[in-house]
Subunit: 355 residues, 3 copies
């Protein structure tokens, strides 16, 4: 593989796929952190992730045939086990031990497939981010996937910033320019693996995406957002809308409160493109499938607003990789996150050199 210049944090779990992408025997060819990988679910139910290049003549294994939990390259018929070892060569009895392809640790959780492209010894499933709503039956959602032609950190920047809501998402997620001009950025709470930010917006109109799934659309709401951005690139956002003026900010249990839980996973495809997985969950009327559908549509619409501008940023850097950015006060969260990420990257490289 071309040297990745140490730009990726490899000792980390990334979402490789939504598990529904592997139904019906699908062999999913997906580049992850600039590694070509084939993913499939074997006959035993186990999910397998292998280098998507036969070690013999480089034919993609994703053009091969799954046999049990194994996969056979359909060029010359070599067969590989789930651990990547070559276990059959047509017309040849002895199989040299070095014959095989790289196998990647995978964990299936939250209806997603997590992958580890770094040192397999360190692939501890406990390191996967804990976000219970993704498996709690109280919450309902419809997971989504989008592809960005942009470096993942540009998406992290976007999600680290609440100021852009007013300018990019007025008609989808809501956000008011007038409010933006008057409001100071909210301080972030620095975490070891990211940051947390809490924001309240009292007595406001319900934003468009919320209005679409409620009946009392004209009522004012008190909105609370708690966002977390976690290394290497996971964003969660816990949102609550309570009827306005009933003391939800003081801890009152306000009837008619509606909550959302939102998890977004950025997985670098290459240094200039990103897989984006997300699920926007709600806790009301969960047996009405139209709510999850409506929310997915609304969020997709909003993400596409971001995507337009993020991919435009990427094009600027494609033409002029050295273009220097100038920070403003509102950049504290993204600046902190990029600093944290760089520190983690240095630590990983230092450990690799020491080893």
């Amino acid at each position: 593989m071309a040297d990745d210049d140490g730009i990726f944090l490899r000792n980390a779990w990334y979402v490789a796929a939504l598990n529904h992408e592997l139904i019906d025997g699908k062999k999913l060819a997906r580049t992850i952190l600039e590694r070509p990988i084939v993913l499939y679910r074997g006959a035993s139910g186990k999910v397998v992730a292998l280098d998507d290049r036969c070690c013999h003549r480089a034919a993609p294994l994703s053009m091969g045939r799954v046999e049990g939990d194994d996969i056979r390259c359909m060029y010359h018929g070599m067969k590989f086990a789930a651990d990547g070892k070559c276990i059959q060569i047509p017309g040849q009895d002895a199989i040299p031990a070095k014959l095989g392809v790289r196998s990647y640790p995978v964990v299936e959780r939250y209806n997603m497939i997590f992958i580890w492209t770094g040192d397999p010894e360190k692939a501890d499933p406990k390191l996967i981010l804990d976000y219970p709503p993704l498996e709690d039956p109280k919450w309902r959602g419809l997971p989504g996937y989008m592809h960005y032609k942009a470096n993942w950190l540009l998406i992290v920047d976007n999600l680290s910033d609440f100021a852009h809501l007013a300018f990019v998402h007025t008609n989808t997620l809501g956000g008011s320019e007038e409010y933006a001009y008057k409001t100071k950025p909210v301080a972030i709470e620095k975490l070891d693996d990211g940051f947390r930010v809490e924001r309240w917006h009292m007595g406001a109109d319900a934003p468009p995406y919320h209005k679409k799934v409620i009946s009392n659309r004209a009522d004012k709401v008190d909105r609370r957002n708690i966002g977390r951005m976690i290394v290497p690139g996971i964003f969660t956002l816990d949102t609550t809308f309570a009827p306005a003026g009933q003391g939800v900010e003081k801890g009152a249990q306000v009837p008619g409160t509606r909550s959302y839980r939102n998890a977004q996973f950025m997985t670098p495809e290459t240094r200039s493109s990103t897989h984006f997985f997300w699920n926007y969950l709600h806790d009301f009327d969960i047996d009405n499938p139209n709510i999850a559908l409506s929310l997915r549509h609304s969020l997709e619409e909003a993400f596409n607003e971001d995507k337009d501008i993020i991919e435009a940023q990427q094009k600027v850097f494609d033409v002029d990789p050295d273009y220097q950015l100038l920070a403003i006060g509102a950049d504290a969260p993204l600046t902190y996150f990029r600093w944290l990420f760089a520190r983690r990257l240095d630590a990983e490289k230092g450990a690799a050199r020491a080893a």
Copy 2:
């Protein structure tokens, strides 16, 4: 910006746009001499040209919103004045002085927008080429724009050469192979900023584009062409058709004479693509709009004949940048022009080093 290798003459005026490209509030994103630029007409009528990248996070300002003469980046809401200075940051009171984007001097003349990408101190509007027919009501024309996937000097070469008329434009601008084989190249008059060439073609058939807009199509004509090629890449061609044999070459005022004035402006987009602006003006029946339309169609047809071959040349150089050309006698004009251009480029680089 990626280093442009000193291939562009920057201290010069280039056409950035036809002024009709900025009607209806259009924000025109156009790369000029490898600089991404946004052009718009502000509320005051002033034309503004700014770097098309927000200094904050590199989002294109052409995706922004014009407010008066200012423009607001619609990612995080930063607002820039016509001189490029940042004048508002939502949620932040103090604006660091260094915050801003590059602004480019522009001059509106001849229904075109001229831009200066070099040292702004030297942007003297008097340096814009004087070509009065472009604003004289006696002349009428319909300006045109074409995009070439070719280095601008290949277009300059093309226009510096009259020999190709016979082979490329027989059916449009006219030109006879038989004549080409018999005729020697005409000497050019060397100018400080380019060259001038005068050619007479006596008692010939009217060329196809001229025939389409006159009634006496079968009559022979005495044709005079005076071409000028000016640094950095402007070509003017003054053409007169007089009824043949009546002494126009001796200065006689021959009734029925028809004249054209033609100005062509080459603006490098990148080192391998070019914006081409032109206007072909006529001095007869100027209230009949079909004449200007017919001439624009004819010239576009002819330019497309050139474009096919010029873009094919570019592809040869794309594959083999070192391909060596061999000059012939007819190349004297283009050889002189390239020499002059190189000298001007050296002078500009020398001045930059001295400064």
Copy 3:
């Protein structure tokens, strides 16, 4: 021309075109071994191959006009003879001796145009591979052309290998997985300029492509294949199907035997794309044109099965040029061929240095 890194064997004949590609005055622009070349048949019937770039301003001669055996560049009218010499410059009497474009030796044989891009002194037509069925009226076929987005050696590898038949071509050329698992690779006979391999397959079903053109489809056959792979990239395959069990392997003349002769020529276009010419000939019912058509369809279908996987291999190398392959026992033929090719390449480079 960009340096080709010494990856091509230049002192060799390659197929440049099928001769029917030059009918009706066609000027064929084709890149061969990374050289842009124009091919045409002159008025005398002679086939001409010239550098497809005018020496004057690099305009493609393939956009020019054939005049007799000469070609005229239709930019400025320069005319070139079949040997590449410039023989006319409009408006100029003296023609400098160095003016001209490179001309390539060509030989028309077997309804194909062979070209030599190396040292013209060494272009001996006797070096063209002798394969008599291509001109023997006893054999009938319909030649084909395909374009591969892959390095030619990946196609050579493919054809050097019989193991892939079972996995890639089960439904076209035939090949049984069960048989593949049981069978050892057949030893090759090493030749000075390639290798030869002979394989027998006794009492088997006729393969699909053969079944389509015979009436007794259910009968078992004894199949013999003799393959030869020749430097720089020519593959021939002589195939015979005899009714099974009648002693064809002992030399018996078995009635009802059907034979094929197959020649395939790989000509590098660039280091990552290839022209592929082929003819699959048969010796029965030669006046029934549907047999040649059926065989061409069948082979095209099979080659497209290869093309899918070969172009996928190329993409792996495009992304990761240093990807290391691991050989298995069945690779002996391709390993030998690549070794032979490298030795020939070294010899050519050594001779070039000595000269």
